[in-house]
């Protein structure tokens, strides 16, 4: 029943799209004021999608297995929470979520843009509707979440156990708010470009939306990363996996766009560049969806895939690209004269240089992700592009990038003087000395580590100092930059200081090394509704006789029947102790992995700081004068 309502609701939603387009064309030509009918219709469409989404959730809650999506991804023994989160833990449901966010953002946009011109609002609405219709058709044609199966199966197939996790339950909605949020940026940029309205006022108006999706995207990536850290069970938090890269690319584009908008807002420069960035942000989100959903890539987090879906998104994606190219070249007016106003030592320049680096990082990630596909098609040879590639190409460039991040905010708009401030030099020397000492004491490769540390510390000190000294400083910017320096520092130290032991242990055995003693005391068993768990008890003693007890587990899920290993993590301010236990077939021992991961919590915290900077500027009216 709920499924049926959901399905009809989807059809109505699609119909309202056509109504909206009809009315907006009429309104665009005829009337002076924005027709309030359109707003109501947009709300109606949003309402239909909500009903449809609720229908799917209810089907999941009731374990209505006559619905194919529910049958494939749910099971009666699952806890309610995971029944609900299962709604968007699969391809069909997550697309419905996309659609929900698309319509939600459009509705909010119309509500919040009342002071904008009628033509601009209608055109934005029009472009957004194109995207919405595309997704409606995609959903109904290739991935209908309400497919009916008869006879009704008695039991569902269950949700993939690694998705049965609280962080991963909220990760997709938040990530999609970021991904899909960029659609409204895309639509309104196209609208503004068509009307030749890319100007300071527009920059101020669109900045909020950019910030909003940026905040959600950052949080979404953070959640995904935390999830990978404790659930995938090997203590890493970023693998340069294609799916992660795909979320990083729009993030990089959005971050660049955010900085560019500042220049546009202040100086009325870089209009074309802003248009290009806005277009590429959403295009990259779509491209990511294509890469993940079509199964063209090999990844840890692949969705169930189907070439037909891939083809649809591919065609849709390229139609959007060509549409935006068309608008960009035929409607958008290029500015020429304005560029002459740039002075080499100014805030604009520093932002431009930062843009330059961001674009470079984006290129590295993009090429690294899709190059294997190209090579395979062209020469049918298969290669892997993994972390070493990204590290080699990104880390050296991080050094000047960090430096610009520290110096840039110090410069003035339009024209800065060459006055080299003593304090900045002193801070630099201190950072250098500090990193040099640390690296020597740590007995690590001196050159690259100490240089990188120096610049990370430099940004750290400079932005830390700004919190106390500057009076009319831009607090959000400072939070974000400070957070970034903290992030780089934590990752560096985490990398340098991580320790680990991998060994095979039987119950009752003790592993000894110079630093640790691991005592595998016993195992117990726990039975839950949806899984059985074998829990090991390990007593770890370090050289100073500190004792830590860790209880990693092995979960045997009943539906589907999959064994996962559950890490036990003792979180601490300075270091996480991380232990996993793995099942080895046909042996009486377990494979034990014990890791000490310093500053993990600082990595999460610094990303939160960065996000906090973003949130602050969402709420601040005009934070910079």
């Amino acid at each position: 029943m709920a499924s049926l309502i959901g399905l009809y609701s989807l059809f109505f939603g699609l119909c309202s799209s056509f109504l909206i387009i009809f009315f907006s064309i009429k309104n665009f030509r005829n009337f002076l004021n924005f027709d309030s009918k359109i707003l109501s219709l947009t709300f109606l469409q949003f309402f239909f999608v909500v009903v449809s989404f609720l229908g799917l959730i209810i089907s999941f809650i009731n374990s209505d297995f006559s619905n194919e999506t529910v049958y494939n991804h749910s099971h009666t023994t699952k806890p309610l929470f995971y029944k609900i989160s299962g709604t968007w833990g699969n391809h069909e449901g997550s697309l419905l979520l996309w659609l929900l966010v698309l319509t939600l953002f459009l509705f909010l946009f119309l509500l919040k843009s009342k002071e904008q011109s009628k033509k601009y609002r209608i055109l934005t609405l029009f472009f957004q509707q194109i995207i919405i219709i595309g997704f409606f058709i995609f959903l109904l044609k290739t991935s209908n979440p309400f497919s009916y199966i008869f006879p009704t199966p008695a039991e569902g197939l269950g949700l993939n156990p690694i998705l049965q996790d609280p962080a991963l339950a909220i990760h997709p909605p938040i990530l999609y708010l970021g991904y899909v949020g960029s659609s409204i940026i895309f639509s309104s940029t196209l609208a503004a470009a068509t009307l030749n309205k890319i100007n300071k006022e527009w920059a101020t108006h669109i900045k909020k939306w950019v910030l909003l999706s940026w905040v959600f995207l950052t949080l979404g990536i953070l959640l995904g990363s935390i999830w990978a850290y404790y659930e995938l069970g090997w203590g890493g938090f970023w693998f340069w996996d294609p799916v992660e890269n795909v979320s990083l690319m729009p993030w990089l584009a959005l971050t660049t766009l955010l900085h560019c908008l500042l220049v546009l807002e202040k100086r009325f420069l870089l209009t074309s560049w802003v248009v290009i960035l806005s277009i590429s942000t959403f295009t990259l989100s779509m491209c990511g969806t294509f890469l993940v959903r079509s199964g063209i890539l090999n990844s840890v987090h692949t969705f169930a895939n189907d070439p037909e879906r891939g083809l649809f998104i591919l065609i849709f994606l390229f139609s959007l690209i060509f549409l935006s190219l068309f608008i960009f070249f035929f409607f958008h007016k290029f500015e020429n004269k304005n560029m002459n106003q740039l002075f080499w030592l100014s805030k604009e320049t520093s932002i431009l240089i930062n843009n330059w680096f961001m674009m470079y990082f984006l290129t590295v990630v993009l090429i690294g992700t899709i190059y294997p596909i190209f090579l395979e098609v062209i020469s049918s040879e298969k290669i892997s592009v993994g972390p070493p590639f990204y590290h080699k190409l990104i880390i050296p460039f991080l050094i000047p990038f960090l430096f610009m991040m520290a110096i840039g905010p110090k410069l003035k708009w339009i024209k800065s003087d060459m006055l080299i401030k003593k304090r900045l030099i002193v801070l630099f020397l201190i950072s250098f000395l500090l990193s040099f000492l640390l690296v020597i004491k740590l007995n690590k490769d001196i050159l690259i580590n100490s240089i990188l540390l120096t610049f990370a510390f430099y940004l750290f000190f400079v932005s830390l100092r700004d919190f106390f000294i500057k009076k009319k400083l831009s607090l959000p910017q400072n939070f974000a930059h400070f957070g970034f320096s903290l992030l780089i520092l934590s990752i560096l130290f985490n990398n340098i200081l991580s320790k680990e032991i991998i060994t095979n242990l039987k119950v009752g055995e003790i592993y000894k090394s110079e630093k640790f003693e691991i005592n595998f005391e016993n195992i117990g068993q726990v039975e839950k509704k949806n899984f059985k768990e074998i829990i090991g008890k390990f007593i770890i003693k370090d050289s100073e006789d500190n004792i830590e007890i860790l209880n990693p587990g092995l979960r045997i899920y009943n539906q589907p029947n999959i064994v996962t290993s559950e890490a036990d993590i003792k979180v601490n301010l300075f270091e996480d102790k991380f232990m996993t236990m793995n099942y080895v077939p046909n042996q009486d021992y377990f494979n034990i992995r014990y890791q000490i991961k310093p500053f993990m919590i600082w990595i999460w915290f610094s990303v939160l700081l960065i996000t906090f900077g973003g949130i602050m500027s969402v709420f601040k009216k005009r934070y910079e004068n």
């Binding site: 190219l325 596909i373 395979e376 098609v377 046909n586």
Partner: protein, 172 residues
């Protein structure tokens, strides 16, 4: 003029990308490795299943015969399916079947052979799976046909009647 050529250039680039993605979609995602044919067989030392004596690989493949090395395990389900084919192949003259018992429990392996028959002329034990890696294998089951110390055919996954036919053709 410049304004005109540049968009055209972009459109062409995007069209190329489109075509490549389109072709990529149709490529299967399952990696089929180029068979390392005509490669010399690896050298290794290994324990035999029966006597647990160390034996060198040169000693096993010393004769002027065809050898079929089959990686199997009692816990591997497809191995059960392909086992009758191996029993059949065992009747062929001039072909010696070498079993490589992969990460198995000896007791279970024995039960497996008692149940389904023992097609192997000699069984080697690969306790930690490293010998299979030496052969460039991915898992169980996997089968290599060897002649003159060279791999001449490789089958990934279980044998079926078509593959057995191909092997028979080669051995002739």
């Amino acid at each position: 003029m410049k304004i005109k050529t540049f968009p055209l250039f972009l459109v062409i680039i995007f069209l190329i990308i489109f075509v490549i993605f389109y072709k990529g979609l149709n490529n299967s995602n399952i990696y089929t490795p180029e068979t390392n044919l005509k490669k010399n067989i690896p050298y290794f030392k290994v324990k035999t299943f029966d006597s647990e004596k160390l034996i060198e690989s040169d000693e096993i493949f010393k004769n002027d015969k065809f050898y079929l090395i089959n990686i199997w395990a009692s816990w591997c389900v497809p191995c059960r399916d392909e086992h009758p084919f191996l029993v059949d192949l065992n009747k062929k003259k001039g072909l010696e079947i070498v079993g490589l018992n992969y990460k198995d429990n000896k007791k279970n392996a024995k039960i497996f052979l008692d149940d389904l028959g023992n097609p192997y002329d000699i069984i080697l034990m690969d306790q930690d799976g490293t010998i299979s890696i030496e052969w460039g294998a991915y898992g169980v089951p996997e089968t290599f046909l060897i002649y003159n110390k060279k791999i001449i055919k490789k089958v990934i996954g279980p044998l079926d009647s078509k593959k057995v036919f191909e092997i028979n053709e080669l051995v002739k």
